[in-house]
Symmetry: C2
Amino acid sequence: MDIKLSNMNRLFEPRSIAVIGASDKPTKLGFHVMLSLTKGGFPGRITPINPGSSEIMGLRALPSIADFPDDIDLAIVVLPAHMVPGIFEECLAKGVKGIVLITAGFKEIDDPKGADLHERLATILNTTPVPVIGPNTFGMINLQANLNASFTPHFSLLKKGVIGLVSQSGGMCHLLSFLAVRDDIGFSKIVGIGNRLNVDFPEMVDYLIQDTDTEIIALYMEGIDRPRGLMETAKAHRGKKPIIAYKTGVGDIGNQASRSHTGSLAGRKEIYSGAFGQAGILGLDSVEVLLDTAKAMAVSPLPEGPGVAILSSQAGPGIAGADMCQMAGLRIVPFSPKTQQRINDILPPLALRVNPVDMGPAWYDSEATVGILQAVMQDEKVSGILLFMMFASANVDCIKGLSFLLKDREHTKPIITCLSAPPGIWDKHIKRYEQAGILVNFPTPERAARAMINLNRYRSLI
Amino acid sequence: MDIKLSNMNRLFEPRSIAVIGASDKPTKLGFHVMLSLTKGGFPGRITPINPGSSEIMGLRALPSIADFPDDIDLAIVVLPAHMVPGIFEECLAKGVKGIVLITAGFKEIDDPKGADLHERLATILNTTPVPVIGPNTFGMINLQANLNASFTPHFSLLKKGVIGLVSQSGGMCHLLSFLAVRDDIGFSKIVGIGNRLNVDFPEMVDYLIQDTDTEIIALYMEGIDRPRGLMETAKAHRGKKPIIAYKTGVGDIGNQASRSHTGSLAGRKEIYSGAFGQAGILGLDSVEVLLDTAKAMAVSPLPEGPGVAILSSQAGPGIAGADMCQMAGLRIVPFSPKTQQRINDILPPLALRVNPVDMGPAWYDSEATVGILQAVMQDEKVSGILLFMMFASANVDCIKGLSFLLKDREHTKPIITCLSAPPGIWDKHIKRYEQAGILVNFPTPERAARAMINLNRYRSLI
């Protein structure tokens, strides 16, 4: 392993951390960083560095990193921009393996001094293999290591999971995390790369591809300094792990704003979507779609083909799902004669028994739902299943019928659902099924269908 | 008022109800209807009709509606299809003002007997002004009257509000209601029109336009039997109340399924979107967008023009919002010199101070956020404001700053927000602001932007 990658591994899994600019004043970011580390349960050693304090949050503080007797793996820097070059020299002298540079005020500001400072830091780092996350970032979180190296302690509310998020916007990381906490979606790592001194999208993708905790790589980007670098990295890893990306800054105004935000060019939508596709990156177009797709990929196998079955306990949601699938080029396949016969044996001849199946007439009957689902799962023409069930007091127990899937270890087709009920009625069943990886649930049939569509889009890229 | 409309009013606000087919067996829909009415707190008289019972849920049951000594305003019918013609004759003889016909098995089934029965019922009703909701429906709910005339008691969990929903799909009504319960969105009425014997979209629109509890009319439709009737009704009422519609059955497969589901033709997307626009109906394309738009319209004034200001405490969400607005033709206007000066006085020259404003450098500072918002609200070029704030522990109190809006009774511009925080931190503030009607909040910046876009689309239709 090259030394930079091994340093990246140490950066994300440090044994000891120094917080340079730690503070016990709640108005300082250095206070919030200390809170994140300590409340987040980081098991290694945390050393606050502040020449004006001897103790911060019950931990002995030192005047400088040089005063620490042992090795420091990770330095988190929250001092004003003008002090950072000096601090970097000290960090390199100390032999730190990696730096998280939270400080803002570099090339994102109007003042040319910011860009100059950025260049000075780049020069200092030039001949070292020390990776720096930032500057102008909230930090990063490695949930699997209980490491919250950010100024927001609430990232530690997140569940451990397999999605690795790399973002140019701290706001988007916060937003995605709050949504994920509400929806019980887990992450492996969340990294705000900010202005990208020497860790940019290509370096993060290289790192996350070999990171065993991460199965899905989700990117939020505004502009890319080295688009070819990212595309080549993604191509080199094509098919190893899904890489999905949401890119903003595609309109003129957004583009300008993006340029100012993290100091890079944004560029037009068409250009990026073409390049993403060629590199095997799945381009997506909103926070919601990014999170929905990551969630689906984290739970669900990929479909082997575009043939989809739609089973709905009420016709309306099935029709909505069929519309979306069809417009996106999925195939609502006719069932094999055997499957159709099994469904005809279960459902009365009242309603639509072909694909999309209106299971309405059987909706009291959990066994009928299960029978239809089993038949369809065994149909070779069907690669993915959309299952929609809206609660009504008469069908309350239908959700329990799906528990047969917990034992059916042979099924390898994605089952994406919209199972909807008033709060507290079906939630615990749905959560149990999702945690067991047998289905993935969304709040509306269209979002479920879109997840299926995006699994298919990704399959066709690799 | 014509007698049919006065009967509609009585149907939705009955003083006494007969449930024909009431049951005390949980396997029967007649049981669930009784539960909905009684648990829903209907204040009028409820009479179960069932020749086999003398009492159901503590209420005296009668063998037939003819045995009831007083007037019956509303008959809810849950008997098998073949019995319905006879029951209808009895209802008309009794002088009921309206009927909710939950029973399925009419023209939605393959068997031509279903269509024949439908025609028989139509003939029976032909010369009467008695409106019938259904057949093949879960029923209807008038939340303002505590009337849950459906087979799902959980509709009574909904908050009273100003959105009137008319749907061809019971599944979609259930889904929209469960989403609304989670998101605390209120409804005036929810009506499943099913196979539409003599109450179809035009009749429901006519009714809801004059219904003082309803301010927004939301339609879910699969096919329309008399599209011209709906378009003419909508045109006649153009601008009185927003009418928004989600139409499925637009693909070939969805179209077929829709035809089967409620026995009507669906038709192509382009045809309907053109016709909707001409009639002043705002066409929308998913459950989520329908509910988001209804929510925005229920809380927010309409913008007077396409000029929008985007204020974001973190750049990323602002860029995402700007992209969406610009692609939809909204104008991210340059501020007036006076507004720009006020913002420049508040924000340091670090970041983007023009529209879209990155309030990042002021994010600890609630007063700065308020000052910028006030400046922008007073700018004549700005017709609507998108405000995005993602929580971080350093900006926890910024949400309280918005309380100045509670006193500012002069503002008449929509403020649509994405204020996002971990559960339990900002929720009660956001709820308070939404209930006071000063802003409307969405989970992502793109959904907030889309709501602003749809308010503008509606404004340009009327």
